[in-house]
Symmetry: C2
Subunit: 336 residues, 2 copies
Amino acid sequence: MFEPPTLKDIANALGLSTSTVSRALRDTYEISAKTKKLVFDYAEKINYQPNPNALSLKERKSKSIGVIVSEVANHYFSQAISGIESIAYDRGYHVIITQTHESYAREKINTQHLASRSVDGLLVSLSAETADTEHLKYLHDRGMPIVFFDRVPSDIETHKIIANNEKGAFDATEHLINLGRKKIAHLTSSDHLSISIERLHGYTAALNKYNIPVNPDYIKHCPHGGMFPEETEQAILELINLKDKPDAIFIAGDRLSIGALEVLKKLNISVPKQMTVAGFSNSDVLNLFEYPISSVRQPAFEMGKKATEMLLQLIESKYPVTEFDNKVIDTELFVR
Amino acid sequence: MFEPPTLKDIANALGLSTSTVSRALRDTYEISAKTKKLVFDYAEKINYQPNPNALSLKERKSKSIGVIVSEVANHYFSQAISGIESIAYDRGYHVIITQTHESYAREKINTQHLASRSVDGLLVSLSAETADTEHLKYLHDRGMPIVFFDRVPSDIETHKIIANNEKGAFDATEHLINLGRKKIAHLTSSDHLSISIERLHGYTAALNKYNIPVNPDYIKHCPHGGMFPEETEQAILELINLKDKPDAIFIAGDRLSIGALEVLKKLNISVPKQMTVAGFSNSDVLNLFEYPISSVRQPAFEMGKKATEMLLQLIESKYPVTEFDNKVIDTELFVR
DNA sequence: AAAATTTGTGCAATCGTTCCCGATTACTTT
DNA sequence: AAAGTAATCGGGAACGATTGCACAAATTTT
């Protein structure tokens, strides 16, 4: 089996003690230059790597951070993860990614898992199902550094970073209005999710600005964020079967957009002629359509980077942090 | 700070020794039922979780597996990862995902990283740039269990699992031929990648079957798997500028397909009228197009599951494994 | 030249577990 | 009743690395 070299191996080979070897490798002042060189060269030769578990045990930290997202297949998250990794690896941290698939149960399990794995901190975007954040609050109260991004809770005080969802939603809705649409529906995720609430605000704000009444029948929530196709199909069908059916939909997410477009295609409802669609999406395929749909793009990579920087600041801070950032980053509307 | 309870805490609280507590929790036969219950209940109460670092140090294993893929944003890989996680979590393993972004340098770094993190095994799909597998061979020779999937090396003897790329490519190409196309180009990844070689075989086999000559000018390799848009654009332009320009392209991958479609759209070449496209893809948006493109779908989730099962078998085997599986799973052609 | 200081190194404890040995008590057996 | 055997439990080493302390030798100071 694979037995990596240890300090003891070096010590024995060189006739030194492990403490001397350790100090030499850490370049302490009390070790002679000669001995240091000796140790350095030998360590290099046998490709010595300190045992991370021993280090973690001693230092009580693991140099790794846990990430909880709904699914990596979502373009927003996969881009955010790239941003997270770019910072983490530079700073010597490992990234452990877990997926909730929008399930509250899985979110709890993953949280437990990561905590027991003694990660040094957590980067979390809540699942669509999550209404209760006790599992995270518990950890946070016990000193686990946590930074929330994208989908954030209101009842945990820590660094948070979100896109300007309200403005993004406003822009997208206004865009649909400017196209001459007046009967604009809104398809969104579960109603307790922060992004849902904020995007709904932006949507209604835009309607209000143009004196278009907000029709409650036009607002459809998918409690599982469109994780189950039936959910999306049901919502679309309800919209279509309305007496006064909408002529446009503002869709609040990647997965929902794809699901909705599939249903519309199945129903032979042409986009954008019969139904204009705009929504939040970080997918790069939307503009491949013959009639590409306009979309609000979040700076996912940047958000991932920023969230990681915030988390590392929490982790590496000598004193308990009491002032928390609440960063909002602007989105960009791609008119197509 | 977060100080989880330890065996010693339990031992002190209950007036027992750590060894007794340890044995009680592990349900050893030499501990009385009474003591066991006492310990169990108390451990439950304070929510005791064994320190994974201490365990890893002692047992010389980390209960985690490393995954190396080119990028999680690729639908094939994100689906495969879901398959990997489904098995791993069930068996109590953590999954550490790393991305190469098709870069050989990053693949080496990630391999090093994971090895030093003392993962118990590796699930690897080679990057497009990788021609030399010495970094993996080195680990493998020292006993690190490795299972390759999708993009596999020929010079490392271990479990491997791939899709039936040759047949998939054959089917797709034959499909294009059946549509009446005769001038079929092939856009693919770097020429040393196993999937490229196999898919090229399938492509030529189909052409041969229908007595269509293989035109070398029609075969375009992208050394970085289309990671850089210029690469794809260049290849497409070369095809378009051919005197005898092709009327169809068989594209060998997800990222390449999206890149190629973008270029074609930019060039105002209509798909499928002027250029019919078919290719390997696990994306679920391809059928949203007005004229959806046909694609070969790999059973990514299944492959991830199977690869993980193979890896855990290697990891948990008492004896060195010398017989290696080489599984080939059938693909499915979605005609659209 | 004796004392004080500096320099270079080793010993041993520590982190949280597991596990090999002993050790103690209780229960049988002759 | 003495001896043997289970049945329980504790002591302590080990895993690999760091680090305060001790200690010897070399150097400087008085």
